[in-house]
Assembly symmetry: C2
Homo-oligomer: 340 residues x 2
């Protein structure tokens, strides 16, 4: 088995303390590789990276229009949110518009991903509900598809349910990967989890950015999804979180989406590029830093980046580690990416 | 550079999703290797693994006796606690006995490590204090050394302060590594952080288990530290946490201590063995599972383990991953360790 290259070093003082190996790829809209690091044909589970693609049927089915969903509500369907009151209210609003309720959601309950939101919820003496699940927006989107199609939504998270089949088909069309529902694993929020080559995750994001290489209805849906995300980065993830800050500061040039276990994908619509990173060990800290570094280099090469965006991307790619007293104790440093 | 072997696989369904590489070593009290996986001479930062060794001066200086510290209070000085009210009260009790206060602690403030304790604190509408810092017990121990020695404790976290020199000297004696205070990096709680070969961390834990290979006062102190930890595993870390559960269930046969960035060390006093693990990428989940697997194999070989301990160790080494609905979605599986 190939050993993935080292992509990020964690230093204590000047000495290496830990490091992360992984793979990264940039493709154009034809799926051709612009940059490739490590074995990008090996399978990964894109997990929540796929949410913007899994949300395509919400638009393509006509549900978003039928129920007059706002861009913020569509962005929530694409996001892994931090569980703030705004996120919860946005999910509730979708449910109200489609005439459904929390009881229909099959994603399960967890405390907000954002530890500050979690403590704030506890301070209000409340318990988390299914709406605080970081995937609640995506699931509300699935229910909207069920509603517009007039389907019985019970068991909608099963791979063989018509809603999931529509979602799986969108993933196939966008990534070019044939997916067999009988081979599906199960994701954290109960829906099918498929694996595919890392390069195909990037291809899916290239297509999401351009709308090309897919059906006309998915192309239109891609445009709506892209706009919704870029105009509502705070809904996609949460204040101060990487997906939000990068998408926010790149001001329409980029959107990114992270997934569990060290996966992150991005789209640069103006270039028709899709990017994907997988950290072998599943570390989110490394996926974020490596993706920020990759974006920085691609965007700078094409003069697509503002000074503020450079600052934000650099801040995610390479930074000092501080202890509880605010003293510098080390650093996170990406390894230089050649070949761009 | 050597590539460390794969030690743990994270599966989604039956497929590999992530994996961790690392190094592991078991030594006897003479420092001879019983088992060695990967480059165990390469330097690691043992970080909080060293706490039981850093607590030796608390006993050896006479401070523990002078201030009538209980075993629970000594265990807190060896631990990375979860920030429960019991942990906070135990730290307060040390400060009271030595006539000091929170103001003297230089470890900084953070929300409790244990997310449940963090939310409970928020629900009480309280803010964390320096006592909630997972290292507060260790720092109270340092202040106790300062008190018994009649030292000015201001700046006690600096490598050149007499308290830190005494602590550094104890680390040197137990691990056999010459440490240069001018080469110290800085730990999360502001004290010096030294690096050393992984095998020497294991050697330190072998000596902590037997008291041999060190000065008579450190040997006596080792006995007291060992007893204190083994009788108060809940104080060492917290309810349900790995250090606590493993030390608790192994009923005097083992104590373990984890450190930041995927380091974990253990002592099996009856065999005179010290064990240490470092996960290259710094993942705690992998350090715990690999150490549990290593302990299981060593203890079973020497018939030193009860059925309950086997169950607990297996539960940390190899287990099903469940989603928010409680459905099995994958597994954590250690890679078999040969050579035992």
């Amino acid at each position: 088995m190939d050993v993935s290259p080292r992509l990020l070093v964690v230093r204590r003082g000047k000495k290496e303390e830990s490091f992360h190996r992984g793979r990264a790829v940039v493709v154009n809209e034809a799926g051709e590789r612009i940059l490739s690091i490590g074995d990008v044909e090996a399978a990964v589970f894109p997990r929540s990276c796929l949410k913007p693609i899994q949300a395509l049927p919400l638009v393509a089915s006509g549900a978003a229009d039928r129920y007059s969903l706002s861009d913020a509500e569509i962005a929530l369907a694409c996001g892994s949110h931090g569980g703030s009151p705004l996120h919860v209210a946005t999910a509730q609003s979708i449910l109200k518009k489609i005439g459904s309720s929390c009881d229909a959601l099959e994603c399960g309950v967890h405390w907000p991903l954002d530890s500050g939101e979690s403590r704030a919820l506890a301070a209000r003496r409340e318990e988390p509900t299914v709406l605080h699940n970081n995937c609640s927006g995506k699931h509300c989107g699935f229910l909207a598809v069920g509603a517009v199609r007039g389907l019985d939504v019970a068991g909608y998270t099963n791979a063989s349910h018509p809603i999931m089949r529509e979602v799986t088909s969108a993933i196939s069309l966008m990534t070019g990967v044939e997916l067999d529902e009988s081979q599906a694993c199960v994701d954290g929020c109960a829906i099918p989890a498929f694996s595919m080559p890392l390069a195909r995750v990037a291809t899916g994001f290239a297509h999401l950015g351009t709308g090309k290489e897919s059906s006309p209805s998915l192309a239109d849906a891609s445009t709506r999804i892209r706009t919704a995300i870029m105009q509502n980065p705070i809904i996609l993830s949460g204040k101060g979180r990487a997906d939000t800050r990068i998408t926010e500061e790149c001001q329409g040039d980029v959107f990114v989406k992270s997934g569990a276990e060290g996966v992150m994908a991005a789209s640069i619509p103006a270039l028709g590029y899709g990017l994907a990173v997988k950290i072998d060990d599943g570390a989110h800290r490394a996926a974020t830093a490596v993706m920020a570094n990759l974006l920085l280099q691609v965007l700078q090469k094409h003069s697509l980046v503002t000074a503020k965006a450079v600052e934000v991307l650099k801040g995610h790619a390479c930074f000092q580690l501080k202890n509880w007293n605010g003293t510098d104790v080390g650093s996170i440093e990406p390894i230089s990416l050649n070949g761009l």
